[in-house]
């Protein structure tokens, strides 16, 4: 009995092998269809998972998404304690949260021009009231909190020790500032002299402000160790941002921690649209793959009428015949899926590089999902083979249709 079962099993696989390799042209078509379907599915699924991460990164370019300010109650402190903020931030995951600190105040800004080059007495040519901003050195990851032009100048300051400042283009225009001029910033008869550079137009309030190092501004305003606000860029979607806000608010009961909703909501919406489109495409591509395999299988069903007739004539049960065909379909799906999905993930990495400039990170979860879907599609599209179960051996051998 055991031997008979073993024999049967051997026979089952032998028939299967013969069936699969009987028509290599068709095998190629079916495998190509399944592999192409699996490749496209895997590539799109991987891009879909990756798109969330990429969009999060891209949306961080809009700037800070969380801001910490002093609580605005009558009689409350106008400033935050730098040290307290630093302590609270130290508890956060620095890979996901980056911060920049600011101090703001109104100052009188003047342009100093050299009368003549020989004995250079300085003279204040023009002056105006403007908002002076002290900015802390953000870590590399925090760069996107600052507008790109401010960020670049900020990085240059890091290298030099001489007093420097950067003026928004409108402020520079009001001061009629020239290349070689010096700038003086005055608050309550405290002065700060610096070598200015002019920032390109940005469209925001930055255009009317003058930027300097945080500690220089703190000294200027007479508020050492104080800041007006901290801006944070938190990686992730709305949920992560809200989590960070809640956590920081608990640690900083005296200040106000609030999310900047403007960009967070748009991010969620846009991801929703992209994700929807990708899902719709994956479904359609799978339907098309099924269509393609089904076309080939209809042919197979025509050709195998004689084989099935013979199997049945010599005592093959209908169930075993059907199992034979289903195993064949599943095997084809498995091979097509394994090869196709692997190619698809490689493809998506390249495509990610083409689209976002950074290779998409391969997600291992995508691989089994894509292979599983392909096997399902292969089994579902062997539907035409079911007709073989109804073949009557006698009719086939008489040559009737």
């Amino acid at each position: 009995m055991g031997a008979a079962v073993g024999n049967n099993r051997g026979m089952f696989w032998r028939i299967l092998r013969r069936q699969i390799f009987a028509n290599r042209g068709r095998l190629f078509v079916v495998l190509l269809a399944l592999a192409a379907g699996a490749a496209i599915t895997a590539a799109l699924l991987n891009l879909q998972v990756d798109a969330r991460r990429r969009l999060t990164t891209e949306f961080r370019a809009f700037g800070a998404n969380v801001v910490i300010t002093p609580r605005e109650t009558p009689g409350a402190e106008r400033f935050l304690e730098d040290a307290k903020i630093q302590d609270a931030l130290a508890t956060q995951n620095r890979a996901n949260v980056s911060a920049a600190e600011f101090i703001y105040g109104v100052a009188t800004v003047g342009a100093l021009v050299t009368e003549n080059l020989a004995n250079a007495p300085l003279r204040v040519a023009t002056h105006t009231r403007a908002v002076a901003v002290g900015v802390s050195h953000p870590a590399a990851g925090a760069a996107q909190i600052l507008p790109s032009a401010v960020r670049e100048t900020e990085q240059k300051w890091g290298a030099s020790n001489s007093p420097q400042c950067a003026l928004g283009n409108r402020l520079a225009a009001v001061l009629q500032l020239h290349e070689s001029d010096q700038v003086t910033v005055e608050v309550e008869s405290r002065h700060y002299f610096c070598a200015p550079m002019t920032l390109p137009a940005n469209g925001g309030p930055e255009d009317m402000q003058i930027f300097m190092k945080l500690n220089a501004a703190q000294t200027l305003f007479g508020e050492p160790g104080h800041i007006s606000a901290a801006q944070l860029s938190v990686a992730g979607g709305l949920a992560e941002i809200q989590g960070t806000v809640a956590n920081l608010q608990q640690r900083l009961p005296d200040s106000d921690v609030r999310p900047i909703r403007q960009f967070g909501e748009a991010q969620g919406k846009v991801y929703g649209k992209i994700s929807g489109l990708l899902t719709a495409t994956v479904v359609l591509v799978l339907v098309l793959t099924a269509l393609c395999v089904m076309a080939a299988m209809t042919n197979v069903a025509m050709e195998r009428r004689n084989d099935v007739g013979l199997m049945k004539a010599i005592g093959g049960a209908t169930r075993r015949v059907v199992r034979l065909f289903l195993t064949e379909a599943a095997l084809l799906g498995l091979v097509g899926g394994l090869v196709g999905a692997a190619l698809g993930i490689l493809l998506s990495m390249e495509l990610g590089k083409a689209v976002f400039g950074v290779a998409a990170r391969p997600r291992l979860i995508v691989y089994p999902i894509a292979v599983g879907l392909t096997i399902l599609v292969a089994i579902a599209s062997s539907y035409p083979l079911r007709r073989l179960a109804g073949v009557r051996p006698a009719a086939v051998f008489r040559g009737e249709a």
Partner: protein, 439 residues
């Protein structure tokens, strides 16, 4: 004879032809849907991105430097310049008027308010809070040149602002209060607020406003009172004027050409630049329409949006290409299968003396007929599919386009011919006799 053979093949085995035709139609429906949606998707996404808020800001050219800290302008009340509200309908008359999604003028003025409970208890008013009053439009109708109405306001330029209760009516003495200020003052929907200008003692008691909503902005406006612009004009003594205008405009991502200074362009280049909906060329045409203004691009919004749109647009074209490829494969395979199963028929024709070319021509004619019919039906199905997908994802169905129909029919014809050419070439090598014997 040729036509009869073709007609015969369709009528003799209608079920089989129907099956191949259905496969073709389904494949082409998917291709149609993918193409229609992606032709439309750039516009749809650009519109979606307008939920980021205004990308242009208009200020008086002669304005003094604003001393803005945390959203509050610390300039003295009478410094700086203002612009007439009456000019604003001109924005909807510029060349790019269809790209202007929304705009809202604002006029801010510093006022003092007190806890309304204290007003109720004593008739004397104790101002406790110095806050900013932001006057603007919320649902303001503008009559455009072509006679239609355009409704615009802050709710459209800043769609992330969430109001509990309702927005104020632009003609009524109503206002909405920022979330944080509302908590501090203890006001809710239905409260009555008294506003006073901060200049010493000059009470304007007529400025009592009903609070109709509490607004969540996530910005400095959470500490402000927002109301109709005419009240801000009364409070600041600037009738008919505004100080800042936010414009939300649909634009095309800027390339390096777009960022060039228009003054340095040749006449041809300038023509091309001003006829492309770049955010900077829209800014230019607004500045032309509103004299005495400076129109600035809010770089942070415009550049971020441009980058993401470019990337996402590329991603979606890629997806479309994938769908087209899959459709072509499926249709090609099914037409290859339909030719393969007619081997004995082909063999018979050859045995009766038909040449390679006449057999090929016959089959090609059949396949083409099928492709045009299947492609046409597929196009119709695809338009429905595109509507479903478009409405599910963007809430708007893409418009059917003749261009897509042409592409689809051509694709169907090309792919079916290519798909049947391969088995035909193999069939040409076979000897008729063994096939007819059934070997």
């Amino acid at each position: 004879m040729f036509l009869r053979l073709v007609a015969d093949s369709f009528t003799r085995r209608p079920r089989r032809k129907l099956l191949t035709g259905a496969a073709l139609a389904l494949g082409m429906a998917v291709a149609t849907a993918a193409l229609s949606v992606s032709l439309d998707v750039g516009d749809r996404l650009a519109r979606e991105f307008r939920s980021l808020g205004a990308n242009l800001v208009v200020t008086p050219a002669a304005d003094s430097l604003p001393l803005e800290i945390g959203g509050v302008d610390y300039r003295p009340a009478n410094s700086g310049a203002y612009l007439p509200v009456a000019d604003l309908p001109k924005i909807k008359a510029i060349y790019w008027h269809n790209n202007i999604i929304a705009f809202a003028p604002t006029l801010e003025t510093v006022i003092t308010v007190g806890n309304p409970a204290s007003v109720a208890k004593t008739s004397s008013y104790i101002p406790t809070h110095t806050v900013q009053f932001l006057g603007t439009w919320v649902q303001h109708a503008i009559r455009t040149a072509d006679g239609s109405e355009f409704v615009t306001g802050i709710a459209k330029t800043n769609p992330w602002w969430k109001v509990t209760g309702r927005w104020f009516d632009g003609d009524e003495r109503e206002c909405v209060v920022g979330r944080k200020l509302a908590d501090e003052l203890g006001v809710t929907v239905g409260s009555y607020l008294m506003l006073f200008t901060s200049s010493k003692g000059s009470e304007i008691s007529s400025n009592g406003l009903t609070v109709v909503g509490v607004v969540d902005t996530g910005g400095s406006e959470d500490n402000e009172i927002i109301g109709p612009i005419f009240i801000a004009q009364q409070l600041s003594g600037k009738p008919g004027e505004y100080r800042k205008l936010y414009v939300s405009a649909l634009s095309k991502p800027e390339d390096s050409f777009a960022k060039r200074d228009p003054k340095s362009m040749s006449a041809d280049e300038f023509e091309r630049w001003s006829c492309s909906p770049y955010v900077s060329s829209i800014a230019y045409s607004i500045a032309q329409a509103l004299p005495g203004t400076e129109v600035r691009v809010i770089r942070r919004v415009a550049d971020g949006e441009g980058n993401i749109l470019r990337h996402v647009g590329a991603l979606l074209w890629l997806v479309t290409f994938a769908a087209l490829l899959a459709a072509a494969l499926a249709v090609g395979a099914s037409s290859a299968a339909s030719v393969m199963e007619r081997r004995s028929e082909i063999a018979l024709m050859k045995a009766l003396g038909a040449g390679r070319w006449s057999v090929g021509l016959l089959l090609a004619a059949e396949q083409l007929l099928l492709a045009v019919a299947g492609g046409g039906i597929g196009y119709a199905l695809g338009i429905i599919l595109a509507r479903v997908v478009g409405e599910r994802i963007f809430g708007v169905a893409p418009a059917p386009s003749m261009l897509v129909l042409a592409i689809i029919v051509a694709l169907a014809a090309g792919v079916t011919l290519l798909g049947s050419a391969i088995p035909l070439r193999r069939a040409a090598r076979f000897q008729p006799a063994p096939i007819l014997r059934g070997e």
